[in-house]
Amino acid sequence: MDMKDRNNGKKKNRKFSINKRSLRFGSYSFVLTVIVIASAIILNAIVGATKIREKLKIDLTSNKLYSITDKTLEVLKSLNEKVEIIGLFDESKMGDSQYAQVIEFVKQYETNSDYIDVKYVDPDKNPGYIQNELDPEGILGVEKYDFVVRSSKRSKVLSTYDIFDVSFSSSTYSYQVTGLNAEYAFTGAIRYVTSDNIPVIYYTEGHGEDDVKDDYSELVSSLELNGYRVEKINLASVDKIPDDASIILFVNPQRDLSDAELDKLLYYMENGGNTVFLFSPANTKLANFEEFLSRYNVSLGYDVIFEMAANKAFYGQPYRFIPTVESNSINSVLEPDKFTMPLAYAQSIQVLKNEKDWITVTPLLSTSSEAVGKSLFEGVEDKNGPFYVGVAGENNGYNDTSKTIVIGNAYFVSDDGMSVYDTGKKFLVNAINWMQDSDADIYIPVKEYTTPRLTKVTQQTLTILFIGLIIVVPLIIMGAGVFVWLRRRHL
């Protein structure tokens, strides 16, 4: 009995001591495991912090696809006010899409300047954010997947077309992203929103123009929201067009420019000046205006457009119609397919057949082929469409690029004209914003997605590779395995 008890006691003790030992070991092991995993996480968190991480990156691509250039660094160094870059999407959902590259790229702006803040807001999760925060007037045309760059002064929207270089591929008949234009877009936008020199739009008087401040007040406020100042100018009474003139705006002039005014305008244009002309139909020949417009290969039609296509014109009023908004890089922001902007009483804008390498004309608005242009001059025959009623012209023949926009109507942006459809101001402000882009004296070329090619591939090559790489070599490798296995099986 004694013996048994003692044995039992011994057994119990041993069991207890093992438990204690393994318990001690267990907690030691647990603590050690936690420490090791925690230090790994902390190490990764420290080096993963954006600022450190960006400094630890090396760009291996030959065209430095992910690096910002010295030009951008200069711009960033000269910043002295906060600039926000807001991406309108959920950045964690972009995965491997091409936007992932842009997200990577934009981080460098934040790393290299204390004044840049990058954030992402998904408009689907924050409905009203665009409308309430970014674009209360609905003028910037901000949409999901856009970036908004903004300072306390003004904002700039960057769309896919601004950020990527997109080209039409004739082999696949589709648009393809062929390069990254992000640096030009973002750096340009930062300069634009922080610039102290607010661009001034001067509207002219003295040729029977409409009074812009009175009759076009909505347009004026849109322009001001976009960072412009709107001022009046009388070309006859100034020696030259002021240096701060970003655009000279002519709204429905009824009389021609004098020769002296034309000279001032030409001098302005040759130095990169931009102009906007809104010409409602008039039966007065505007020879000096035409002389100026010929520098962009553009002339006036002196007619009134009657749109005869039933789906384009207002019922019974063929002079009121919906022009086609052409799809191109200028109009892309507007989503031309859905954009509706009626014109009433418009004249055609003609493109001269005087092609020059340094002149580019981009159609903005057009009619259907059924449209008829009824001449305002007696004895001149009516013409058949299609017509352009709005074009953008660029002249690169001088030191700086000079741009113009010529629309065959002014009423569409007047307060009256926009009482039903207010799309006119969006259209015009967008076109005016386009004119600002190349004003930037900073040019960063597109970074092309280069793919080195194989040059000596024939059908025969593929056959040889197929036999060699896919049949022979794997068979040899696996055959060696079988051989080894067979030999060693008998050992």
């Binding site: 990156k57 793919t451 591939v457 590779l465």
Partner: protein, 236 residues
């Protein structure tokens, strides 16, 4: 440790398993290389890497399934852990052996580089190096996961299934993160081996990614030593 490494490497090549794994890897890679890359006349091998990295999900579990299970099954584990060698040396030796086979397998892709040059291609070398380094580091992580899985069981098939399951999870983390978004995506990204790999392969040599891969590998090898140690102590 060196002795363990040598013994294990020998064991690999004395059995058909290494040959089959390497042959299989080469076969599938060659199909992608011939019909994916050469047929489209691409000269940048990075394109190939991002297509064939998924093969590792299947190949690495096969490569590592017997590395620790065998010892337990044959009862040699006791001999090993009671020998004067530290547990971490055992684990490291075994890991390096499996990784050596991985390296041999990886080296087979140099044939493609030679072919690219023969066919008149001039790939961007720095980007290519980024792709190679990324592939090796992902491989190291996968092998470490495999070694860990094989320490958990004495059944080879079970070990292979465990590591395959973990690797599969790693493969689908990115799509899941992209789908859910937000904070969850950021947490999931901590386990995303492949998004970091894509960066490297696309030409962003991010030193934090290198640190991430090395610490990922180290943590799994460490966990393996804990599993073996725990067994030693609980067996008394």
């Amino acid at each position: 440790m060196l002795a363990i490494w040598k013994r294990e490497v020998q064991a690999y090549f004395y059995q058909p398993i290494a040959y089959i794994v390497i042959g299989l890897f080469f076969l599938i890679s060659s199909i992608y290389f011939t019909f994916g890359m050469v047929a489209s006349q691409y000269a940048q091998l990075n394109v190939l890497f991002s297509s064939i990295i998924f093969i590792l999900t299947f190949v690495c579990p096969i490569l590592t399934m017997r590395i620790l299970t065998e010892d337990r099954k044959n009862g040699t584990e006791v001999l090993l852990v009671t020998s004067p060698v530290d547990v971490y040396q055992i684990v490291l030796g075994k890991f390096l052996a499996a990784f050596t086979v991985f390296l041999v397998m990886f080296a087979s892709t140099f044939i493609y580089l030679a072919i690219v040059y023969i066919l008149g291609g001039k790939p961007e070398i720095p980007r290519l190096i980024g792709g190679y380094v990324g592939f090796l580091l992902v491989g190291a992580c996968y092998v470490a996961i495999g070694v860990f899985a094989s320490s958990l069981t004495e059944n080879q098939i079970v070990a292979a299934i465990i590591s395959f399951a973990i690797l599969l999870l790693i493969n689908i983390i990115d799509p899941i993160a992209s789908f859910v978004g937000g904070f969850t995506a950021k947490v999931l990204d901590m386990f995303s081996l492949l998004s970091r790999y894509e960066d490297l392969n696309n030409g962003i040599f991010d030193i934090t990614s290198i640190i991430y891969y090395l610490s990922f590998t180290a943590v799994f090898l460490f966990l393996t030593t804990r599993v073996i140690d725990k067994r030693r102590w609980s067996q008394g």
